[in-house]
C-alpha cells in the first residue's frame, strides 16, 4: 500500500494542480514585480506587466533567468522580502564561479522540508524509521533539507553529516539506521568500505537510500542496491530553488515526481529557448510559485532531461522528470563530441568494474585529448600482464562505442583518485582555450 506524506496534494487531479499553479503564478509575478527591481526591469524590457500573466498558459511570455543573472544580482538583487522576514541562507559550492546565496523565510523552509518529507515517505520512510543524514550540513542544502524532512516524517534522525566513514558505519550498525541520505558517490564509498570490512547486505540494517546532488547512472544504482541490500531512490534539487526535494523518486523508480504545487517545470531547447513537448530531451526550466524570499521565474537549470505526464503506478499525479544526464556545464565537448562523465561510469559498471574514475581533458597540438583514469579493482586484476592489458583495451573499446571517440585509459592504484566525501571530482579540464 503506497503511503504519501501529503496525499491530498501528491495525488491531486490535473485540474486541481493547474488551478493551484494558475493562482500561485499570478500571485508570484505580482510579488516579484512589486518587490524585485531586477525582475521588473527584465519584464519591462519585454514589454510585460503583471496583467499579461493570467495563468500557466502565459508562462512562456516571461523572460528566462540564468545563473549569470544570479551572479549579477548577488547578493541581494533578487531578494523579494525584507531581510527581517528572512531566517536562513544556504549557498552553492561556487565551483563554477561566484557563489549563489539563496534566502529563506520560515514559510520557505517549511515548504522545502515538506518536499523532503514527501521524498522520504516515497522511499518507504515513516516515524518507525531511523534516518541517517550523511549529506554535508552547513551552507550546502543536502544536510539541512533532508534533516528537516526527516523530522517532519518523524524519523529518528542521525545528523552525521559527511565524512568519517568508519563513524558513519558504526552509527548505521549500532543504531540500526534504516534510511541513508547522501550523495551517490558517498553511498558507493560507504558500500565499498563495508564490503572491505567483510559485511554482507543482510548484516547492514539499511533498507532504503535517498541519493542525490550529483549525476549518477542506473548501473551505479544497481551496484549500490546490491552491496548495501537496499532500494536506492533518486532525489533532485537546486539551492536556487530551495535544495533537495524539488523532485523525488517513488517506488516505481522510473523518474522523479516534481512537486508541482511549488514548482512549474518546462523543458526547452537550450539553443532556441523553445518549449519542448513530453518525451523530448532538453534543458529543464523551473518557476518557483510559492517561495517568498527568493522566487525564481523560468530559471534555467542547465540540467538535461525529459518530462512525462504518464500515469504513475504509485498514484502520484505530479509530472515526472527523467534522471538528468548531467548538467550542460558538466558536459564536455571533446573533439566536437558531447561527453557526459556518467557515460564513462556506465561503461565501467557494465564491464563489472567499480565506478572510481576521473576524466582528464587536455589540448595537445590543438587537439583535445581525453585520458580516463580508472582505479584498479580486484575484479579487473590478474597476475597476467597480457590479460590486464586486454581488459584495459576492453574499456577503451567500451568508451569508443559509448562516446564515439578514442580515449586513453590509465589504470591507477586503488583510492588514488581524489574522493571528496561530498561530491566526486569526475573531471579535470586542463584545456586553455
Amino acid at each position: 500500500m503506497e503511503r504519501y506524506y501529503q496525499p491530498e496534494i501528491e495525488t491531486a487531479s490535473r485540474e486541481q494542480l493547474t488551478a493551484w499553479q494558475n493562482e500561485r503564478l499570478v500571485r508570484q509575478v505580482k510579488h516579484v514585480w512589486d518587490n524585485v527591481p531586477y525582475y521588473r526591469k527584465k519584464m519591462e524590457e519585454k514589454g510585460l506587466t503583471p496583467d499579461d500573466i493570467r495563468g500557466v498558459e502565459d508562462l512562456g511570455k516571461l523572460p528566462f533567468l540564468s545563473k549569470a543573472d544570479l551572479r549579477e544580482a548577488y547578493p541581494y538583487g533578487l531578494l523579494a522580502e525584507p531581510l527581517k522576514n528572512c531566517v536562513r541562507i544556504q549557498s552553492t559550492s561556487g565551483t563554477t564561479g561566484k557563489r549563489v546565496v539563496a534566502f529563506y523565510t520560515q514559510a520557505d523552509i517549511d515548504l522545502w522540508e515538506d518536499c523532503c518529507a514527501r521524498a522520504i515517505v516515497a522511499a518507504g520512510g515513516s516515524d518507525e524509521d531511523v534516518c541517517q543524514v550523511s549529506y554535508g550540513y552547513g551552507l550546502f542544502t543536502g544536510g539541512p533539507g533532508l534533516n528537516g524532512g526527516s523530522h517532519k516524517v518523524g524519523c529518528l534522525t542521525i545528523p552525521t553529516s559527511s565524512g568519517n566513514t568508519e563513524r558513519q558505519i558504526m552509527f548505521i550498525r549500532d543504531l540500526n539506521a534504516t534510511i541513508l541520505c547522501c550523495t551517490p558517490s558517498y553511498a558507493a564509498y560507504i558500500a565499498e568500505t563495508m564490503k572491505e570490512m567483510g559485511l554482507t547486505p543482510d548484516e547492514i540494517p539499511l533498507k532504503a537510500g535517498i541519493f542525490g546532488a550529483e549525476a549518477w547512472s542506473e548501473e551505479m544504482r544497481r551496484d549500490v542496491e546490491k552491496t548495501l541490500g537496499i532500494k536506492a531512490f533518486d532525489i533532485y534539487g537546486l539551492t536556487e530553488l530551495s535544495g533537495p526535494g524539488v523532485s523525488f523518486e517513488c517506488s516505481a523508480q522510473t523518474g522523479m515526481h516534481i512537486n508541482e504545487d511549488h514548482f512549474i517545470a518546462e523543458v526547452i531547447d537550450p539553443e532556441t529557448g523553445e518549449v519542448l513537448p513530453d518525451g523530448e530531451q532538453g534543458e529543464l526550466v523551473f518557476t518557483s510559485i510559492t517561495k517568498q524570499a527568493f522566487p525564481l521565474l523560468r530559471y534555467r537549470t542547465r540540467d538535461i532531461c525529459t518530462l512525462s505526464h504518464e500515469k504513475c503506478p504509485c498514484g502520484r499525479t505530479h509530472v515526472k522528470m527523467s534522471k538528468p544526464r548531467g548538467r550542460t556545464d558538466d558536459m564536455l565537448i571533446i573533439r566536437g563530441v558531447n561527453v557526459f562523465p556518467s557515460q564513462v561510469e556506465t561503461v565501467l559498471l557494465n564491464l563489472g568494474y567499480g565506478a572510481n574514475y576521473q576524466l582528464v581533458v587536455d589540448r595537445v597540438n590543438h587537439t583535445d585529448t581525453l585520458d580516463v583514469l580508472v582505479e584498479m579493482t580486484p575484479e579487473m586484476f590478474t597476475d597476467n600482464l597480457g590479460e590486464v592489458s586486454r581488459r584495459q583495451k576492453q574499456i577503451v573499446e567500451g568508451l569508443r562505442s559509448m562516446l564515439g571517440l578514442t580515449a586513453k585509459v590509465t589504470l591507477v592504484a586503488p583510492k588514488s583518485i581524489a574522493r571528496s566525501e561530498g561530491k566526486a571530482v569526475r573531471v579535470i579540464d586542463r584545456r586553455k582555450i
Partner: protein, 142 residues
C-alpha cells in the same frame, strides 16, 4: 604440488615499487622470489613469500590490489642443458609456459624456477616423469 605467488598491481612511476617493498619490509614479510612485469603505465610485481596469508593481509591493509595464483616450482639441475631438459618435458606434454623466473632455494641443489603454465596438473606430472624435483609451498615455509 604448487607454490603460491602473490601478484600486486603497481603504477609504473618512481617510488611505487619501493613503497610496496617497504610495506612488506616493515611487517617482516620474508620474500623468496621477486619478479616484475611492466608496461609503460603499470606493472605487476610477482612475489613468492614464506607466509602467503600474512603477506596478503599486509597488502590488503595497505590498500594494494593483489591476487594469489598457484604456480609450479622446480629444482633444476645446475648444469648446461638443465633448463632445456625441463622445458622439453613440458613441451612434450603440450604445456605452454606463460612466464617463469628463478629464485633462491633453501637447499644447495641447483637452480630453482617457478613456472606459470596453462595446466598445473599436467605440468607436475610431466616434470615428475622427467625426474625433476618439484618444490612445495611447505618446503618454502621451512
Amino acid at each position: 604440488m604448487n607454490v603460491n605467488q602473490i601478484s600486486v598491481f603497481l603504477e609504473n612511476r618512481p617510488g611505487s615499487l619501493l613503497a610496496m617493498v617497504r610495506v612488506l619490509a616493515e611487517k617482516g614479510v620474508d620474500m623468496r622470489a621477486f619478479s616484475l612485469a611492466e608496461t609503460s603505465e603499470f606493472g605487476i610485481a610477482r612475489v613468492i613469500v614464506r607466509d602467503v596469508e600474512a603477506a596478503s593481509a599486509v597488502l590488503r591493509e595497505a590498500g594494494y590490489v593483489h591476487s594469489v595464483t598457484p604456480l609450479i616450482a622446480a629444482a633444476i639441475p645446475d648444469t648446461p642443458g638443465g633448463l632445456e631438459q625441463t622445458l622439453s618435458a613440458l613441451n612434450d606434454a603440450g604445456v605452454n609456459v606463460e612466464y617463469m623466473y628463478a629464485f633462491v632455494g633453501s637447499r644447495q641443489e641447483g637452480a630453482y624456477m617457478v613456472f606459470r603454465v596453462t595446466d598445473n596438473d599436467k605440468a607436475c606430472e610431466a616434470l615428475s616423469g622427467a625426474g625433476v624435483r618439484l618444490v612445495s609451498q611447505e618446503e618454502l615455509e621451512q
